[in-house]
Amino acid sequence: MAGALSSLKIVEIGEMASAPYASKLMADMGAEVIKVERPGVGDHARVRGPFPGGQPHPEKSGLFLYLNTNKLGVTLDIARPEGFEILEKLVAQADVLIHNVPPLEMDRVGLNFERLNKLNPRLVMTSITPYGLTGPWRNLRAEDLTVWSAGGVCVLNGAGPDHPELPPLKTFGSQSGYQGGVHGAVATMGAVMAQLRDGEGQHVDVSCQEAIASQLELTFEYWPYMKMIATRLGKKPIQPLEAMQCKDGGWIYLCCVEEHQWKGFVEVMGNPEWAGEEIFSDRLKRGENWEALVIFLEEYVKEQTVLDLYKKAQAKRVPFAPVSTMGDLLNSEHLKARGFFVEIAQPVAGTHKYPGAPLKYGATPWEIRLPAPTLGQHNGEIFVQRLGLTSARLDELKRTGVI
């Protein structure tokens, strides 16, 4: 059985996480993705790592290798007219173009929907940019930290009311890129469904800032509804909702939102006398009197091991979870049984384990058919065999730095 998206042909011009993650989601479900990189240097993710032995190498970056599985790789300088002409040939044969070329660069090279839509009326073109393609912030410079902050989520994370001097805290990794990417993949698939129905393409403008602002839980609405500001300094109204350290050095996240969950935890602790105190008698009181409660809980938790407390709590349907280290994840009996991590061999980087399928489909496979491409690996296959360029022309383009 072929993947659900095996009939889709996608061209990606992407760097780092956003557009590459969107097209990875599709490639891993069978779509053909031709990834266009800058000649010589390639996708910036190639220098981000992590690298085996900590030694930087453009073909060994973990982030790049993860985000670009199942893609065919070509190099092309789209800022040069000869390069853009070849891009046009690629796009003419594609169903979808996904890119995260910054807006100013789009203007400079003439990468716009009107132009490409004339060549291919069915084309879905998805532009994933930090702030979207309209509005006063369109051209702002951006990195993951600044977009995560502008989206309104960074302000929510930090050391809390006991340490107001500590700043808001960024979440690990390229999260604004991933969120722009996966929301972009949703919008792109929507446009692909409309393409199937109407035989016409369209332009999809995705803003990473908006993707983040769309998922602020209940915090955004505190302003329009109650004129209250939500920040890292708010005291949690309900407790326990905290990580604590166990005797094996690991951490466990205590989580009792519903009353039955607290009761289950009290039973796990062997019904200690203090748990019957009036000041701990409901979740709001446990929030109010957290300074007292935390002393009792730490006393108990520091005598437990993470796995044992996790399993005992779960046996009573109390939703505790370990603060998983990377080692915990790789060694998890549950994830092993589900076959989550996949081994991928790449000729230069070697064989490593990677995060696998985000979802399991009953009828259509998620599979790794190809490792991430080396820089320009498929230039011959795509430019000569697919587009019909002569080998002499290919050599000339190589010599002049177009590919």
Partner: protein, 415 residues
């Protein structure tokens, strides 16, 4: 504008809380007819959580939490203790394209709406379960709760101030992440069905979905056997790279002083030259302690003090403006007031949605993070009151007569 992309697609929506509703919100945004099956006997918890308009709690229809994530959907109420309610759900599924739930593993089967049961009602149905741990594996019956899924995923171990304990993401990140991945999977399955006529079941583990977001951490371990250290707001390849204190908000909010920060990320030496000029300390760029990335990383603490000395005497918007004029990546660390009232960009892009709601009036909600050029993209209605569409759906879509609906209501099946 042409019809929305998913116009004519119907979703039988068993979801609640956040992950599931965030999933079906994406589908509603793309034009699907999302029909939420709710019950007054055990309403969605988000209907009973703040924020409330004017800080006055009460009722099931006034929560900003529910009203944000259920925009554009319809709501019917069914009391599943009554077999007649099951029949309504069966008729709805038979006329739907997709069935979605985010109950703990096994619950939907116990309710009688597992995949084997629903495919008998509609042979090409697409069904997805967004569970915490997935449908298989030794922990499949474990319970998952939003806040606990972030530490479980591994993100907390990677996030935190330097030399300090693991931290959260500040919100139940794994929930919306699962929801949006689920929406992608559903549309991909709809595409496959359009091509082949085949439906399918999709097993989603929120845990696994979240691990897809931390490849750099996982690969550090699988390539080198080491656990990455927590480095706060720093970046191994950029400096300065941090969140710096600015002047407090000029006005107190509810009597409280609100602090403000700016995020600054300087990607390379050329950007650092522009940065140094912008803050009026051009000499920094030629100072051996700061001229190169390597030097800046080695003297990062001192550099951060210099940066914060400059930022802390200025308003965050001013700092961001000055730095962006010098082409340095900077942004106000936005809070909800900033997004709601002060961010000129989101307003200009018409990001926010204002729809009349019968009980809260016309309040501001977040919209969709994309714009489509040819097909309609607008939120079609405010979030539904509980059971607002029960009569409409039963009579217009499912073939019940008004008398039959009245009888069902009288016997309590539509509670």
């Amino acid at each position: 504008m042409a019809r929305p992309p998913l116009d004519g697609i119907r979703i039988a929506d068993f979801t609640w809380v956040w992950a599931g509703p965030y999933c079906t919100l994406q589908l509603a945004h793309l034009g699907a007819d999302v029909i939420r099956m709710e019950t007054k006997t055990r309403p969605c918890i988000t209907r009973m959580l703040p924020p409330w308009p004017d800080a006055k709690p009460g009722g099931l229809n006034r929560s900003g939490y529910f009203n944000q994530y259920s925009q554009g959907k319809r709501s019917i109420t069914l009391n599943f203790k009554d077999p007649a309610a099951h029949e309504v759900a069966r008729r709805l599924i038979a006329k739907s394209d997709v069935v979605i739930n985010n109950f703990a593993h096994g619950i939907i089967e116990k309710m009688g709406f597992g995949y084997e049961a629903v495919r008998k009602l509609k042979s090409d149905i697409i069904m997805i379960s967004l569970t915490g741990y997935g449908d298989t594996g030794p922990y499949r019956d474990y319970v998952a709760y939003g806040p606990a899924q972030v530490p479980l995923s591994g993100l907390s171990a990677l996030t935190g101030y330097r030399g300090s304990p693991p931290m959260h993401a500040g919100f139940s990140y794994a929930d919306p992440n699962a929801g949006v991945h689920g929406a992608f999977a559903i549309i991909a399955a709809l595409f496959h069905r359009a091509k082949t006529g085949q439906g399918q079941y999709i097993d989603m583990s929120q845990w696994e979905c979240a691990m897809g977001l931390l490849a750099e951490g996982i690969l550090e371990y699988t390539m080198n056997g080491t656990e990455p250290e927590r480095i706060g707001n720093e970046d191994p390849q950029m400096a300065p790279h941090g969140i710096y204190r600015c002047l407090d908000r000029p006005d107190k909010v509810m009597g409280i002083v609100v602090d403000q920060f700016v995020a600054i990320a300087v990607a390379d030496d050329a950007e650092f030259v522009r940065f140094a000029n912008a803050i009026g300390q051009a000499a920094l760029a030629s100072d051996a302690k700061f001229a190169t990335l390597k030097a800046r990383k080695a003297n990062e603490e001192e550099l951060n003090r210099i940066v914060e000395e400059w930022t802390s005497a200025r308003a965050a918007v001013e700092v961001a403006r000055v730095l962006q004029e010098a082409q340095v990546a900077a942004a106000v660390v936005a809070d909800n007031k900033f997004l709601s009232e002060e961010d000129p960009h989101l307003r200009e892009r018409n990001y926010f949605v204002y729809k009349e709601h019968p009980e809260v009036g016309t309040l501001q909600h977040c919209g969709m993070p994309w714009k489509l050029s040819r097909t309609e993209t607008s939120v079609r209605s405010a979030a539904p009151c509980i059971g607002q569409h029960t009569d409409e759906v039963l009579t217009q879509e499912l073939g019940y007569s008004a008398d039959e609906v009245a009888k069902l209501r009288a016997q309590g099946a539509l509670e």
